[in-house]
């Protein structure tokens, strides 16, 4: 049998369809031989039902019927194992859950990535885009430094002008007023001496140009006292100092950062609240400790 298999294998690439009715003719020939020669053993005789069945089949079908008992010993299929089949089926079912998880993870990461990209775009837009606002120009009137406003007029403490709030921008002012702008916060003195514009610290301190703000912040690290004149000064608290530092933080393009603008907006909001509380008639007075504590600590603003 083994040899015959080899023959079939080697011939499988050279198959040729036999002419139709060949197989039937062969059987017919064999039958007649058997019938004519009675001496031959009846080993070739087929069972009656088989013969009937063969008669019923077409010739081609009969050929395939004859081959159905063929067994390839070398390439035997694996033994039928129902447990293995079931296990394989169950594995197929289980693979659906990880797939679902993976798709969920992809969705999550995708959403996060989209959020990050949106955030970066927003940050870039807010920090790089230059607003088309006109620079704020405040008159540098000498009247601000009259005696009754108690601002020192000494040569060393020249006025800081309220000017462009955007860093890196300079306002075009006459040379005579430029002189007054430059001398701020002399570093050779133990105290930080400066005059204020409009007698308002927030207008003064929060509207420095960038170089002025930097020198102010450097000076403030050493000495947190701002002298208004020989009678008045302000100590800057730690929290306030860090807030002012945040307010002048700039990005690589020397523009105020988004956080800096936010801090400034917060300061302006405080200022509005303060004005609403204390400038609304004479009902409340910041010099009255009860009014002041009511406003600052009891959140009455």
């Amino acid at each position: 049998m083994a040899d015959s298999n080899k023959i079939f294998k080697s011939l499988q690439d050279h198959t040729e369809t036999p002419p139709p009715g060949l197989y039937a003719k062969l059987w017919k020939k064999i039958k007649t031989i058997v019938q004519d020669n009675k001496d031959l053993p009846g080993t070739i005789s087929l069972p009656a039902e088989t013969t009937d069945t063969l008669k019923a089949l077409t010739e081609e079908q009969q050929i395939w019927k004859g081959l159905q008992d063929y067994v390839d010993i070398e390439n035997t299929p694996p033994a039928f194992d129902l447990a293995k089949i079931q296990e394989a089926l169950s594995d197929n079912k289980n693979t659906t859950a990880p797939t679902r998880k993976r798709s969920q993870r992809i969705l999550l990461y995708g959403t996060a990535a989209a959020a990050v990209v949106t955030g970066i775009i927003f940050w870039v837009f807010t920090n790089i885009a230059s607003p088309a606002e006109e620079p704020v120009k405040i008159s540098n009137s000498i009247q601000n430094r009259k005696a009754d406003t108690i601002i020192t007029s000494s040569a060393t403490a020249a006025a800081i002008n309220k000017q462009d709030s955007k860093p890196g921008k300079q306002t075009n002012k006459p040379a005579s007023t430029q002189q007054n702008r430059n001398v701020i916060l002399p570093r050779n003195t133990s105290e930080t001496n400066t005059a204020i514009v409009d007698n308002d610290f927030f207008y003064t301190l929060t509207n420095f140009s960038l170089p002025e703000a930097n020198s102010f912040l450097e000076s403030m690290k050493k000495n947190r006292k701002i002298s208004v004149n020989s009678y008045s000064y302000v100590n800057v608290s730690d929290k306030m100092a860090s807030l002012l530092k945040q307010m002048y933080a700039v990005n690589r393009r020397s523009k105020y950062t988004w956080k800096a603008r936010r801090v400034k907006a917060r300061l302006n909001r405080w200022k509005k609240d303060d004005a609403k509380y204390f400038d609304n008639g004479t009902k409340k007075n910041p010099l009255d400790v009860l009014d002041l504590s009511g406003f600052l600590l009891n959140n009455k603003q």
Binding site: I196, F201, V228, N235, W270, D274, F278, T282
Partner: protein, 229 residues
């Protein structure tokens, strides 16, 4: 003998007037020492907020009380605002009070008569004082403790006052009108934090007379509207 007894009588009468003049508030600044008086108070605010709030704009500010030749001024300087109270007298009687805001674009001043000022501070009419024996040194002066209770506001203010300095006139600090001395430290405590004013400098040197003059230019005159209590 008659001469010596009359001298003794004169001395005794002088002593008695001195004793009567010392205690109590409302004595006009007549003493040479208090004629020129400047007290600088440092303002310190501590709140329960972890982040910087609006109180930080006042924290570190100063309040200066200046007295000179019958005029007085109280000035608050902070990062948020500069505000002053001016007091003008005639024959030791209050004639005019000015409330001014010196900072910002819109400077203003309110002019109040003595009656207006009294009405403005009506909330302090019913305050009570508890004088305690506890002492503390503030700006080099030994101070006694007192607790001021303001019933209308339901608040308490803890003060430390020095009897070595003559009390200020009642109208300057109406809250301290019943304190038998000059308050050198006071604290207002709330559940959210506290505000303290502590004297850091006391001077008897004269100040620039311009500081006590009424501000004229750049100020918008506003009408006083009496607070509704």
């Amino acid at each position: 003998m008659k001469i010596s007894s009359s001298i003794l009588l004169i001395i005794l009468s002088l002593c008695s007037t001195g004793i009567r003049a010392q205690p109590g508030a409302g004595i006009a600044v007549s003493n040479n020492k208090n004629n020129n008086l400047t007290i600088v108070y440092d303002i310190s605010i501590s709140s329960n907020n972890k982040k910087a709030g609006i109180e930080e704009a006042y924290n570190g500010g100063i309040k200066t009380v200046m007295l000179q030749n019958g005029k007085a001024r109280i000035r608050l300087v902070s990062l948020m605002r500069i505000q002053s109270l001016y007091f003008f007298t005639k024959d030791s009687a209050l004639t005019k009070v000015l409330i001014t805001k010196e900072s910002g674009k819109k400077k203003y001043k309110y002019q109040l008569s003595a009656a207006d000022w009294k009405r403005h501070n009506a909330k302090y009419d019913s305050i009570t004082y508890s004088l305690l024996d506890e002492t503390k040194s503030v700006a080099g002066y030994t101070c006694k403790k007192a607790i001021i209770t303001v019933p209308g506001e339901n608040k308490e203010v803890i003060v430390y006052y020095s009897t070595e300095l003559k009390p200020l006139d009642n109208y300057i600090e109406p809250l301290f009108a019943g304190i038998p001395g000059v308050v050198l430290q006071y604290v207002s405590e709330t559940t959210n934090g506290n505000i303290s004013f502590t004297a850091s400098k006391i001077s008897f040197e004269p100040v620039d007379e311009n500081l006590l003059q009424e501000p004229t230019s750049d100020y918008v005159q506003k009408n006083y509207d009496a607070p509704v209590r």
